[in-house]
């Protein structure tokens, strides 16, 4: 039995766990990162690669702004290119109502320093002739873009390791407990002792709530993705649409990655798969927005396992039952862009006891109220 003693143990080597590990280590703490498989092989490694602020819930805006400032220099932080391209994110409106929605959102966003460029339908087509003539208007976020998810989190884990983090892959955490003065975390043939513990176990995080007598209405979310053959680069912006039914982007190599709607997945067997019915249903939605997509061939499809919460916001913050335990999970299908910021936020929570970025909206206790209300309603 191997024993390891560190300041902070982190469960989960996704973007959240890896970014936290690097930030904590840079802050001078000793860190062990425990990952049951390979770092960045789950949600963080297979997501759509969208690095997007536009469209996020108002409570997420401070955090997404913080992340947006980190992405352009991430290659410096990590010491390698992760194919982050600040191509801009274009949100399309199909009706006057949707245009109004974009305008209202732009006002809120501006209050947080996110400046969105609103365009009429005519201006949208003038600037982006490949967009359908039926579009009523659009909102462009110039700082947004995309990155290669297959590269980002493994690069984080390598950077963490080279800074001295104990990155322990193929190390599934089987049990964790608070002894009164520290945590004892058990994996096969290994016990880690730590002063702090971070639960960044993604879709599997629920297991670590139960060890500490906590609960949250965490469910499984399996976004559906597919990709076309490479064609000449024409779609210079990442695309989304009001109502959110479909989103897509073209990479420099020429492939168009499309997503939206549910795939299939199973937490126990760790398997996930694209759903053909969802995929076929997306064809019309995507072609309606960008007619040139018609006729492109789909060559591959996939899905992934992600934690979901009823209000589509994550849980980030201190445990309510256990000292020195911090949760960061349930990113509801949009945590890739946030990852670098969450890493820093977790570091601040552990080092300073509080974060510079407001995260109260993400506290785990918000669901207690729901449970209480429900119980009251039932009584």
């Amino acid at each position: 039995m191997e024993r390891l003693s560190v300041d902070v143990a982190i469960i989960g080597g996704g973007i959240v766990g890896c970014a936290a590990a690097l930030a904590l280590r840079k802050a001078g703490l000793t860190v062990a990162l425990l990952e049951k498989g390979l770092c960045g092989a789950q949600a963080s490694g297979i997501n759509a690669g969208g690095v997007r602020q536009q469209g996020r819930h108002v409570t997420e805006l401070p955090m997404t702004r913080r992340a947006a400032k980190l992405w352009p220099r991430l290659h410096e932080t990590l010491g390698e290119d992760v194919e982050f391209r600040q191509v801009g994110h274009l949100r399309l409106a199909r009706s006057e109502q949707d245009v109004q929605m974009l305008e209202d959102y732009a006002v809120t966003a501006r209050e947080h320093g996110l400046y969105l460029q609103l365009n009429s339908g005519t201006v949208t087509r003038e600037m982006f002739p490949w967009v359908s003539g039926k579009i009523a208007g659009s909102s462009l976020a110039v700082e947004d873009g995309h990155a290669n998810p297959r590269l980002v989190t493994p690069a984080y884990s390598r950077a963490a390791r080279s800074h001295g983090v104990h990155v322990l892959e193929f190390t599934p955490v089987e049990h964790a407990q608070w002894t009164g003065s520290n945590f004892e975390i058990q994996a096969p043939r290994l016990v880690v002792k730590s002063r702090h513990l971070v639960n960044a176990a993604g879709a599997w995080a629920g297991k670590f709530l139960s060890f500490f007598g906590e609960s949250a209405p965490l469910t499984l979310r399996t976004p559906n993705l597919f990709v076309t053959e490479p064609v000449s680069y024409f779609m210079t912006k990442s695309i989304a649409v009001c109502g959110g039914a479909v989103y897509f982007r073209q990479v420099e190599r020429g492939n168009v990655v499309l997503g939206g709607g549910p795939g299939w997945g199973d937490l126990k067997s760790e398997r996930s798969r694209n759903r053909a019915d969802t995929t076929l249903g997306q064809f019309a939605r995507a072609i309606e927005l960008v007619p040139e997509l018609s006729g492109l061939h789909i060559i591959r499809s996939w899905s992934g396992l992600e934690g979901d919460l009823p209000d589509k916001l994550p849980i980030i913050g201190a445990s309510r039952t256990t000292p020195n335990l911090v949760h960061a999970f349930g990113l509801c299908g949009h945590g890739f862009q946030l990852g670098p910021a969450i890493g820093e936020i977790l570091c601040e929570l552990i080092r300073d006891g509080r974060s510079q970025t407001p995260i109260d909206a993400f506290c785990i206790s918000r669901f207690d109220a729901v449970a209480h209300q429900k119980m009251a309603g039932a009584g």
């Binding site: 694209n274 018609s294 789909i298």
Partner: protein, 450 residues
């Protein structure tokens, strides 16, 4: 209600399976991507390009005629749907594409008879226009009635090599050389085992005699190959067992190194697989009677285990009988007994053939860093090796994530196994540990149309 049985593949295995099931009154659905029945081996030329069976199939003309006739006789007792691509399987239903239209075919029992595909090993020049697989060269001859070039060199590591060579010779093509990358001695040693099916041994011998009669330069134990040319093949260099280089002029090359089962559909259906050390590749795990590891799914023909056309007919029937048995439908057991006995002999033959044509690992060892391994994504051998050095990727799916190998149009059908070889060679891990690329639909590209 009758159980709905779907057969995918109308080659010798699928056709014989359909015959048995139709005979029991079950009206199976038969789906096939091709326009006409016959599969790869008994592929029929398109209307307007008909030629007589002997020109097309040579010594196998009788069998081809029988298969086509057998399927023709089934008439309305099968629901045959040609020109239908099956691109996904999930929850007891298949997604199909027919003339640009999407459809769904549900099933109670699925019999997969999707055949095999050439095993490709990259060598310098393999992506030049004018380089084909042996299977591709054969299809050109059968379907279009054309040779792949004026002067053709054939390279291989399996019984398909002398077969294609003889078919090209019969068709009047100029065959520049027949190069076998496996040693002649291996064939001599395997001769006894091949006699398990005397007819096969005889046929093999007559092919070799034919090559001799035509005076085609033939070599064994070829150690290295290199296709030359700037925009198109203009020649071939090869090194013999004694280390001497030879050079021949040719304008087309067909090369492949044995066959691999087309198991994407079985994979999507959830069928378990294992790594077969003898042939150095992943195969579906087979249970008695051609059953897969999934209760409703049966496998027959080359997609279950490489065995050739005669075996495919037998395993097709056998899998169909298993379907009947599992449905509780009675049948006369005599034929099945006979099939099992014949198949046992063929298993011995197959072992001998595998030994006669051992996997040419020397071609893998010889791969230089500059060689393109994944042509869809333009990934070189050197990039794969360097990625391992940087990332320690333990398995081929991880390597794919970092390098894009196998991410293109063919989805790793061509290069997946080779990427695993390179990774295993670089990391020292075993091939079973390095694994294989996970299957994902669509099995072949499907158009985004409304």
């Amino acid at each position: 209600m009758l159980a709905k049985i779907v057969i995918v593949g109308a080659g010798p295995a699928g056709i014989r399976a359909a015959e048995v099931l139709a005979g029991a009154g079950l009206q199976p659905v038969v789906l096939d991507e091709a326009r006409q029945p016959g599969g790869q081996i008994y592929r029929q030329p398109p209307p307007g390009a008909e030629r007589d069976a002997f020109t097309l199939y040579g010594s196998e003309a009788g069998k081809a005629r029988n298969i086509h006739a057998a399927f023709g006789r089934l008439g309305k007792s099968v629901d045959y749907r040609p020109d239908t691509l099956v691109w996904n399987c999930s929850s007891n239903a298949l997604n199909i594409l027919h003339k640009g239209r999407q459809g769904i075919v549900p099933y109670d029992r699925l019999l997969i008879a999707t055949g095999a595909f050439d095993r490709v090993i990259p060598f310098p020049g393999w992506t030049l226009p004018g380089v084909f697989t042996l299977g591709g060269a054969q299809i050109a001859l059968k379907a279009q009635g054309v040779s792949i070039g004026k002067r053709v060199a054939l390279i291989g590591a399996g019984p398909l090599l002398p077969l294609v060579a003889s078919q090209y010779l019969e068709a009047g093509a100029d065959v520049a050389a027949v190069l076998d990358v496996t040693p002649f001695g291996a064939k001599i040693r395997a001769l006894r085992g091949m006699l398990a099916v005397p007819e096969y041994a005889r046929r093999g011998l007559s092919l070799l005699l034919k090559l001799k009669k035509f005076g085609v330069p033939t070599a064994y134990d070829v150690r290295a190959i290199e296709v030359t040319g700037n925009w198109h093949v203009d020649g071939l260099k090869w090194r013999d067992g004694a280390g001497r280089w030879h050079r021949i002029a040719c304008d087309a090359v067909a090369a492949s190194f044995g066959l691999k089962p087309e198991m994407q559909l079985a994979d999507l259906a959830g069928c378990a697989t294992y790594f077969d050390e003898a042939t150095r590749q992943w195969l579906p795990s087979l249970q008695a009677g051609g059953r897969s590891s999934v209760p409703d799914v049966y496998l027959a023909g080359d997609c279950a285990a490489i065995g050739g056309a005669d075996v495919a007919e037998l395993t097709g029937k056998r899998a169909a009988y298993s379907v009947l048995r599992d449905l509780g439908i009675g049948f006369a057991a005599d034929e099945l007994k006979g099939i099992e006995t014949t198949l046992a002999r063929h298993t011995r033959l197959r072992k001998a053939l595998d030994a006669a044509y051992p996997f040419p690992t020397h071609l893998i060892d010889a791969m230089s860093d500059s060689l393109t391994l994944c042509r869809c994504e333009g990934v070189t051998v050197g990039e794969l090796r360097a990625s391992y050095v940087k990332t320690s990727a333990p398995d081929v799916n991880r390597l794919k994530a970092f390098t894009r190998v196998g991410m293109g149009r063919c989805q790793g059908r061509v290069c997946g196994a080779m990427a695993a070889e390179i990774l295993a060679g670089q990391s020292g891990a075993s091939l079973p540990d390095v694994g294989r690329l996970r299957g994902q639909h669509p099995i072949k590209p499907i158009p985004m149309v409304v």
